[in-house]
Symmetry: C2
Subunit: 251 residues, 2 copies
């Protein structure tokens, strides 16, 4: 069936959008059919791809637009459903339901599953009705964790929130913990990475290095593979694609 | 009257909490009476001060607790009103009001203004009813802006959201733009700083350097002034205190 992966952490600025975009694009590059769903009002996933954040998710849910009108295709095999401004309206719609609001996105996307091998969700920071909706739709969670004390504290809070959802969704697990902003010149990268490995063992992916190329690529609307294919950032995200697709022969 | 400063930006991980805490503590150190209000469900401002995020803001609004029970004093002259878990309930309370919800925090804090020279608000990332409440309560905005392309894009979105509020609150202005994570070894720091200066001129403060000491201090529940008083991070925040208090003789 379709693999539905939420890229989530309530802590801000840990690399959720960068990871969701580069994972989605990387999977499309190796032949998978991917839908990237941008659930952040900031519309940054769309921006990173050089795509207009024209809305689509809200309009799909309300049936104002059909799937083919709501979805754009910013790269080969990569479809994008972006939330943008109208997400505020989607949040209100969800909050007004007497019950089942948490399943709104899952129900709206169910008819599309046959079209895609992967659905990748970019989550907004914080914790709100859209975060919960994403976690009731996804069947796997990928948590990008920047190697900072404040992020570990945010992770602890996030796990408490997740545990309430897991009571209602047994299959939902933190499948991937992706250390981000790894910097081999600073001791804290190693100590915090060790803490993550102690907590999460096999689920911890190879870290993504702090690599200025990654932060520059969005200025050109390019993915890291387009902008700097030989960079540590590109290598790190290709490794992530191999891990998620469970295939070391990719690329 | 009391200066009420919102430390806000919807983009995640730009240094809002680090700035709110170090500004508040710095002002208290030079003799001001300061109230720090933590409006983020993650409770990170409390964590940075080594204080329990025991809730207080929601309970103050509902009158469940009086001000003296809701407020703690983690440092001399620094009072802390933290939101923590119960903020979810405060958001629901605000959303249920037929009108005037945006003034909930302002009304709850009005009786306290006589006690404090400064009220500093730490905002959560994203944009929700608490963000709006903070912006209807504060009379000045300080925007920490990390020197990244993605943050500039987030700033553009934030400004659009602010403009709607400013129609209802003429006096509300972006008074301080604080560049954060300045790194003199990377060209982008200079180019993005220049962009900010072109946009904001006099409102742009001296940048805070990317300084590992700043990220280490929270592990010890210490402020940067306690942990590494001679560090570039401590110097940068002392400069910010001087700028905000409009007094170069401080410290
Ligand atoms: N490996 C990396 N090296 C250098 N910069 C990076 C790297 N990964 C991400 N960045 C940059 O760090 C910033 C934060 O990343 P990103 O926006 O992806 O995080 P986020 O968790 O989605 O943030 P938010 O909480 O605001 O949604 C961005 O400016 C991004 O370009
Ligand atoms: N000048 C600095 N040098 C190095 N690290 C810093 C600096 N300022 C902040 N940090 C670290 O960067 C991370 C993000 O900072 P902080 O949590 O204050 O941002 P924020 O905007 O409040 O994030 P959120 O959007 O999640 O609320 C933290 O781990 C913090 O310790
Ligand atoms: Mg993001
Ligand atoms: Mg914060």
């Amino acid at each position: 069936g379709t693999r539905k992966i939420a890229v989530s952490l309530s802590k801000g600025g840990v690399g959720k959008t960068t990871t969701a975009v580069n994972l989605a694009v990387g999977l499309a590059m190796v032949g998978k059919k991917v839908l990237l769903i941008d659930t952040d009002t900031q519309g940054q996933a769309s921006y990173m791809l050089g795509a207009e954040s024209q809305g689509g998710l809200t309009e799909l849910v309300t049936n104002e637009l059909g799937a083919d009108e709501a979805i754009v295709e910013p790269r080969e095999r990569l479809s994008l459903l972006s939330g943008g401004k109208s997400l505020a309206g989607l949040k209100r719609l969800i909050s007004r339901k007497d019950f089942g609001g948490e399943l709104t996105i899952k129900e709206a996307l169910a008819p599309l599953e046959s079209r895609f091998d992967y659905m990748i969700f970019d989550s907004s920071p914080g914790w709100d009705v859209l975060t919960v909706n994403v976690l009731f739709c996804a069947n796997e969670i990928l948590v990008p964790v920047s190697l900072e004390v404040m992020t570990l504290q945010g992770l602890t809070e996030f796990l408490k929130n997740i545990s309430a959802i897991r009571k209602h969704r047994e299959g939902l697990d933190i499948k991937y913990v992706l250390p981000t902003f790894f910097d081999k010149r600073v001791k804290k990268s190693f100590t915090i990475l060790k803490k993550l490995e102690d907590l999460y063992g096999q689920n911890v992916c190879a870290p993504i290095s702090n690599n200025v190329r990654v932060s520059e690529a969005p200025a050109y609307g390019k993915t890291i593979y387009e902008f700097a294919p030989g960079s540590p950032g590109a290598k790190g995200y290709r490794d992530l694609v191999r891990k998620v697709a469970d295939d070391d022969s990719l690329f």
